[in-house]
Assembly symmetry: C2
Homo-oligomer: 290 residues x 2
């Protein structure tokens, strides 16, 4: 199965267990609103790619790890969009969860999606109990305290903090968990060795995000976006210019690919990552920088 | 170790892993604010009592199950107290988390406490991987969709719902998980058989709560509390009167004690539960009803 279809099928299977007549319908609808739609599934695709490079000997474990990473990502977006944080109206081209379903259901949707990550692991990894603890630990560390997504967001409430550094870390943590979880799901003996791949790709993705914004609105070229500046978010284009940012992105992808640990599918994974990241730079900018 | 001390020690150990200089200090402080203080620890005590009745052959697993249940309970209180839900100023005699730390940290504190439940299980049950999946599943079901605490709270956003039934279920679900998790942590072959004990005690606790309110403010006797009526919460004293409520409470405790499955420590557990629940009815009311 093509990995995009495999991820959607795994997400659908996870939702089938919670979308029962016994549950409150609006919560289920809000959870679906948060997870299905225009998401690129970059993190679960990465998780799958790593597991496949390691042999993917237990596909149910791989699927559940990929689902866990994606629903955590969606959970963090739902809570981050709320009025007390970014107060966002639109996400992935649709109204945000709290705009459609109200704040109480937005809180509960984020909560229930966090829990769904662990529910999915509990069911998907049951045939490989010796992998379960590691996977639960990886996924929990990626979202909780002291260094997961929640902790990253909580740094915004601290008086003294290097915001640029924290934003880099916040993006990186879930990418690093995606690769580590992919390794752990497939029984790789040293899943931690996979974290550098994820961390570097997370950083590259952030640079690509800055480049996409410039491509979408060239007038912003070289100027920090208003919200970035206000929130202290780093912006690679503002710091390095378009050409510098593309150079930085390529260097990060190179470091990512170079960090891949020995495994049966190392070459295929390298090719896969170069292919995926090749689409990171918008064509107009790539031509412009060539 | 006396079970109260054992629970505090286990909670402290769980917090030690998140209270590191690497994490944002206010988040850690807010999490501690939510968990430590005047809580009665009724659910983790129950979890421990069941595990001990089943032999408690793996104390680290028992401790982590008890911690998971308690921090989930605290997480749900933090989110339920927020302005978009109950908008509560005081909890357990202290200002609520959002009053002290603000709404953003209250959201994140609830999130991180949910995650802490699973982090604690991942570490505490690592020596018994075959128990891990079951415990993660029990704990996740108790808080998530379609029938855990989040789902219970989400019913309030539905237009047609039997609110009295939903409030009973909402209290019962975590008590039932506490007893089921206690059995699972100690390797009982059929942990589901322990759920009736928790569900009945949860219902008894709710009746006791109504009785305590009357004891604290006798003028409320027989009248539904304003908030209960507004939110459609059931109130045993309003429905049955003081004597009727005490009779109902005793019947529920009897059903709870009678439901205890065969296990090595059945008699000791029955005595323990009669002792704990004996303190449920405030003395003044017990005398009055005698």
């Amino acid at each position: 199965m093509e990995s995009g279809h495999r991820i959607e099928a795994a997400l659908d299977a996870a939702f089938a267990r919670i979308e029962t007549p016994a549950g409150p319908p609006k919560l289920a609808a809000a959870m679906r609103h948060a997870v299905f739609g225009a998401g690129q599934r970059i993190r679960p695709r990465l998780c799958l790619a790593v597991a496949m490079a390691c042999g993917d000997d237990m596909p149910a474990a791989t699927d559940s790890a990929a689902v866990a990473i994606e629903v955590l990502h969606c959970a963090s977006l739902v809570h981050d969009d709320m009025p007390c944080f970014d107060n966002a109206d639109i996400r992935r081209g649709k109204p945000t969860v709290h705009r459609v379903y109200g704040e109480p259901l937005a809180v509960l949707t984020g909560d229930a999606l966090i829990v769904l990550a662990f529910q999915t692991l509990a069911r998907g990894v049951v045939a490989a109990p010796e992998r379960m603890g590691r996977l639960v630990d990886i996924v929990a560390a990626a979202i909780g305290a002291p260094a997961g997504l929640c902790a990253g967001q909580a740094w915004e409430s601290e008086p003294e903090v290097d915001l640029a550094e924290y934003h880099r870390a916040k993006t990186g943590v879930l990418f690093a968990a995606a690769t580590e979880a992919g390794g752990a799901a497939a029984g790789h003996p040293d899943p931690v060795a996979w974290r550098t791949l994820g961390a570097k790709l997370g950083e590259a993705y952030q640079v690509a995000d800055d480049l996409r914004d410039v491509a979408a609105d060239p007038e912003r070229l070289g100027k920090p976006r208003g919200q970035d500046a206000a929130l202290g978010r780093p912006n690679a284009v503002a710091e390095l210019g378009v050409v510098g940012a593309i150079t930085r992105l390529k260097a990060l992808v190179g470091e990512a690919v170079g960090s891949i640990p020995p495994c049966p599918g190392r070459e295929a994974l390298q090719a896969h990552i170069l292919d995926e990241t090749g689409r990171f730079v918008p064509k107009e900018l790539a031509r412009q920088a060539a």
